[in-house]
């Protein structure tokens, strides 16, 4: 096709992609059809830059019921129950309109989970903001936190964990990743594939408006020609409607009326109808005049691409329409049969008695572009010796400064705005290594966490990818859970730049290796690319959402020191790794060098050992060592339990700064009342263990330093966030 015959606005498709669409159609697509190709082939929906790489991730294990490809993944947790979970980003909208962007992000991921037939039991999130001194940061934090709370609290789903970090690279591109965990019956997991011809297609939920049109491509040029239809690309959420939608869908799912169900998220009616048809191997015909609408005069293009929230599409068994209508009427929701499945293999969209769009489904999906984008790997950074980082002049002052820094201070200001307890099953909410939520009415609990250390990934994508998976796995082990599976949210810059593609592939390779070594498969995920402003990308941020299982929730521990006299034991090997550490940044103003490597075999040994000892009741408190190293972990344990500690031992072979603040991986600090048996068991398990001192008192007493009172530690730790936000 000649360049002259292409329209000026390809809605984000490349000229080659447009030409491919023409050859599939056998003619030039009309505006509505072009819109359909553009969203289905957008990076967001087609994963065209990452698909070939995502295939390399391990996705199976005997307990995996559903891997990537459906609305969310599912694992078997016994007793006929499945745990369904996924993480998803809403980065761009949250930067434009933080409250609604974050709220609809939370709403979208919850919808993904209950579309599978699961009742959501917990939400988590992973947030990244720009530098605290960036003028926008405060406003963005306030809006995002209120939006997450506003949606989750109203839905009655507790927000039990997450992470918040700052870095100047996020100044123009914050990250809002939301994760939902739900519970379904294993024999009642719902999928999108609409097998069967002549089946009614029902639309349910909120009415369709002109909001969020083309949100999946975030393109705006197409609105230029007609100012009348200009609307923000950020959707507006209504958690109350979604609460009704949740209850109504679960009520209908308890009957046998539903054959397939798909939520209308990114790319709205287009993506949901195409997915249902493609997965079912059928065609689908819909009549837009029957779609509930809250605005008049909407074009086919607008209705097909609207991202109005709180909507579902379902394929029903013939004859069950009235039963479904009765349930939706009870919950005061709009429901309408808008079409049926066909044997034509085509998506046919009618409006005002005419065909407004007609696209063959299979090629639209199967011939979606997939690119092997050029990539360059960056050279491995040099390993930095602990002694090359200046030692702290005053250990006490350093600890207080670190604990009161934006990266390590308490996030209480954030999580007190989330209802973390609704449902009355939250055994451990925010602030622990992993949250613990009881499986309602049983002795079982699910452990869950979100983790990533972007500065490690930036320094060495492969090691950083391994570390993110290992840390999630470690956090689950630290509460006594058996890690079962993960979901990932890959937040990167522009994949058309080879160095970004190099980061992405490096991180994925690292994640794949760690997932395999730890039997911790990937069951769902999301990719968010083009996170850059004026050519500057965010730190590569592949967030891991991990889920683990505890058979008896009495056999779990928290990270707070609670028992006077318990011995403190450091598990795992310490060499004092300061490259890319927070102490290095504190001491030198920047992070450089190689990030700490993860020995996956040692990681596994230490994690299994910790889990077994927790199950045996030998551990009274456990905390994984991560940002800030040993001394920060010890202070956090003291603050969490309101009990101090005395440390007697330190390894003389390691410089003090490396000993106290090194971020060596695969380590835990535990409290135990039976140190001798414990040390012997560690030795037998091949896990390095050192007895450091014991819990007790109201301060931290370290060799060569005067005691640091818990009061001082607490005011440093709790002070920063409220003071920062109050300075609005």
């Amino acid at each position: 096709m000649s360049a002259q015959s292409r329209p000026n606005d390809l809605m984000g498709l490349s000229p080659a992609e447009y030409d491919l669409a023409c050859s599939i159609m056998g003619r030039a697509p009309n505006r509505a059809e072009l819109g359909i190709f553009a969203v289905m082939w957008s990076e967001h929906c087609s994963y065209k830059s990452t698909r070939r790489w995502l295939k390399t991730l391990p996705t199976s294990a005997p307990w995996v019921l559903q891997g990537p490809g459906e609305n969310a993944g599912a694992i078997d947790i016994g007793d006929g129950l499945a745990c369904v979970f996924k993480i998803e980003s809403h980065n761009h909208p949250s930067f434009i309109e933080p409250y609604q962007g974050a709220a609809t992000g939370v709403g979208g991921i919850m919808r993904d989970v209950f579309t599978m037939g699961a009742r959501p039991i917990a939400n988590l999130n992973a947030l990244r903001f720009g530098a605290p001194d960036n003028p926008k940061t405060r406003h963005l934090i306030a809006g995002v936190v209120a939006g997450i709370g506003g949606y989750g609290n109203c839905m009655g789903v507790p927000t039990v964990g997450g992470e918040v970090n700052f870095d100047p690279s996020y100044n123009g591109n914050i990250l809002v990743n939301a994760m939902t965990v739900g519970i379904a019956r294993t024999d009642r997991i719902f999928k999108a594939g609409a097998g069967g011809v002549g089946l009614p297609v029902m639309y349910v939920g909120a009415k369709t408006g002109r909001d969020g049109i083309h949100g999946a491509t975030m393109a705006s040029a197409e609105f230029g020609e007609d100012a009348q239809v200009q609307r923000p690309t950020v959707q507006v959420g209504d958690p109350f409607t979604q609460k009704l939608l949740l209850e109504a869908c679960l009520e209908l799912m308890a009957t046998d009326a539903i054959i397939a169900i798909q939520d209308m998220g990114a790319a709205g009616l287009t993506s949901s109808s195409v997915e249902m048809a493609a997965k079912g191997g059928v065609g689908i015909e819909i009549d837009l005049d029957r779609v509930p609408q809250r605005e008049t005069g909407m074009t086919a293009y607008e209705i097909m691409l609207s991202e109005s929230q709180e909507r579902m599409l379902m394929v029903l068994k013939p004859g069950r329409e009235d039963a479904a209508r009765r349930i939706f009427a009870k919950w005061e929701l709009s429901a309408a049969v808008i079409g049926e499945t066909t044997n034509t293999g085509r998506l046919v969209v009618r409006q005002h008695g005419q065909v407004a769009a007609e696209v063959p489904v299979e090629p639209l999906v199967d011939q979606a572009p997939s690119y092997d984008r050029p990539r360059v790997e960056r050279p491995k950074p040099a390993v930095i010796a602990a002694s090359d980082v200046p030692a702290p002049e005053d250990l006490r002052a350093t600890l207080l400064a670190l604990l009161g820094s934006p990266d390590l201070c308490s996030r209480r200001w954030v999580w007190e705005q989330y209802d973390s307890m609704v449902g009355a099953d939250t055994l451990a909410g925010p602030g622990g290594d992993a949250a613990l939520v009881r499986v309602h009415g049983t002795r079982k609990a699910l452990a869950m966490t979100t983790d990533c250390t972007p500065r490690y990934v930036a320094a060495d994508p492969f090691e950083g990818g391994r570390q993110a998976v290992a840390e999630a796995w470690r956090n689950l082990s630290a509460v006594g859970a058996r890690p079962l599976a993960l979901t990932n949210n890959l937040n990167f810059g522009n994949p058309e730049r080879p160095e970004i593609m190099g980061e992405l592939v490096g991180a994925l390779n690292g994640m794949a290796e760690a997932s395999r070594a730890l039997d911790f498969p990937v069951i769902s995920g999301n990719v968010s690319l083009y996170n850059e402003t004026s050519g500057t990308a965010i730190l590569p941020t592949p967030v891991i959402g991990g889920v683990g299982l505890v058979e008896d929730y009495a056999r779990t521990v928290g990270n707070g020191l609670r028992r006077e006299g318990d011995a403190l034991v450091l598990l795992g090997a310490t060499q004092g790794w300061l490259g890319c550490s927070l102490f290095q940044r504190h001491a030198t103003g920047r992070t450089t060098g190689a990030p700490p490597p993860v020995d996956l075999a040692a990681e596994r040994r230490a994690g299994e050992f910790v889990r077994n000892r927790i199950a045996a009741g030998e551990i009274s408190a456990c905390h994984d060592l991560s940002d800030g190293g040993l001394l920060v972990a010890l202070a956090e344990m003291a603050l969490a339990g309101g009990l101090g500690a005395r440390i007697e031992a330190m390894d003389g072979a390691i410089p003090a700064q490396g000993w106290w603040f090194g971020e060596d991986q695969g380590r835990y600090l535990v409290a135990t009342s039976a140190p001798d048996t414990f040390m012997a068991a560690a030795k037998a398990a091949g896990v390095p263990a050192q007895k450091l001192g014991q819990a007790g008192g109201a301060s931290l007493t370290l060799p060569g330093t005067k005691p640091i009172s818990l009061t001082d530690l607490r005011s440093a730790h709790e002070g920063w966030f409220p003071a920062y936000m109050a300075a609005r």
């Binding site: 209120a146 709370g149 506003g150 609290n153 109203c154 839905m155 009655g156 209504d238 958690p239 109350f240 409607t241 609460k243 009704l244 009870k330 919950w331 005061e332 999580w415 007190e416 705005q417 989330y418 209802d419 973390s420 307890m421 609704v422 449902g423 009355a424 099953d425 939250t426 055994l427 009881r438 929730y553 009495a554």
Partner: protein, 230 residues
């Protein structure tokens, strides 16, 4: 003893309350949908927490005009005990069954945390399991829990002994730093004049299991079941 739990669109603590009652009672309470204008014969009505009608307009305002509330008012006037927790408390003030209003929290944000409460009196069907002055722990989780009235009403409810719970420190001191939302006189819960209707912002329904961080709320449900057992 026959309790019912009223479920509004947007209620989200209905199961939590039902679990609390069931643990005390040994069987599930009956759930009544808001659109029903009839409530079965019962000797306790519970309005659970949540966001009835999305808390649109004002927290509890729309639910207060729900068909079922007419019947709740009739039963309350006939002396049937009514318990409103969190959004249920907001609905009861909007319906005129309890004095005062619940304004936006003084800090303007939603607040979820464990609070200490001082039990003001133990001679009611709800609080007989506690002792007057006892300190208990329940969590709060709300955006609009800032109890407010005009000075005359405040004087009256204080004078009539209608305050049920006050936010306090762990040692029982009614102090400003123990007040999570700016409520007048640290008021966390109030009775009607007959002390047959109780509304409170904190959640006894989230404090009935040590594994959840506390079980002081269990006493409230157990006491209701014992006192109302016919």
């Amino acid at each position: 003893m026959t309790p019912v739990v009223i479920v509004f669109p947007g209620s989200n603590c209905d199961r939590d309350v039902a679990d609390g009652l069931a643990a005390a009672l040994g069987r599930r309470p009956q759930m009544v949908w808001h659109a029903d204008s009839e409530i079965p014969k019962c000797d306790l009505i519970v309005l659970p927490g949540g966001f009835s009608y999305g808390d649109y307009l004002r927290s509890g305002a729309i639910a207060a005009h729900s068909p079922v509330m007419e019947e709740v008012k009739r039963r309350a006037e006939a002396g049937v005990p009514v318990l409103g927790i969190c959004n249920g408390f907001q609905i009861l003030t909007e319906a005129g069954l309890l004095p005062g209003v619940l304004l936006r929290n003084a800090g303007l944000g939603f607040v979820c945390r464990w609070t200490h409460l001082r039990v003001e009196r133990a001679d009611t069907v709800f609080t007989a399991g506690y002792t007057a002055g006892q300190v208990v722990r329940f969590p709060v989780a709300h955006h609009d829990g800032n109890f407010f009235t005009d000075p005359a009403t405040l004087k009256r409810i204080e004078g009539e002994g209608q305050v049920a719970f006050r936010y306090c420190t762990a040692s029982g001191e009614v102090a400003r730093e123990a007040n999570p939302n700016g409520s007048l006189n640290n008021i966390a819960g109030v009775f009607n004049e007959q002390r047959s209707v109780l509304g409170l912002m904190p959640h006894p329904d989230r404090a009935f299991d040590r594994a959840l961080g506390g079980e002081d709320g269990k006493v409230l449900f157990r006491t209701l079941v014992e006192k109302l057992a016919a």
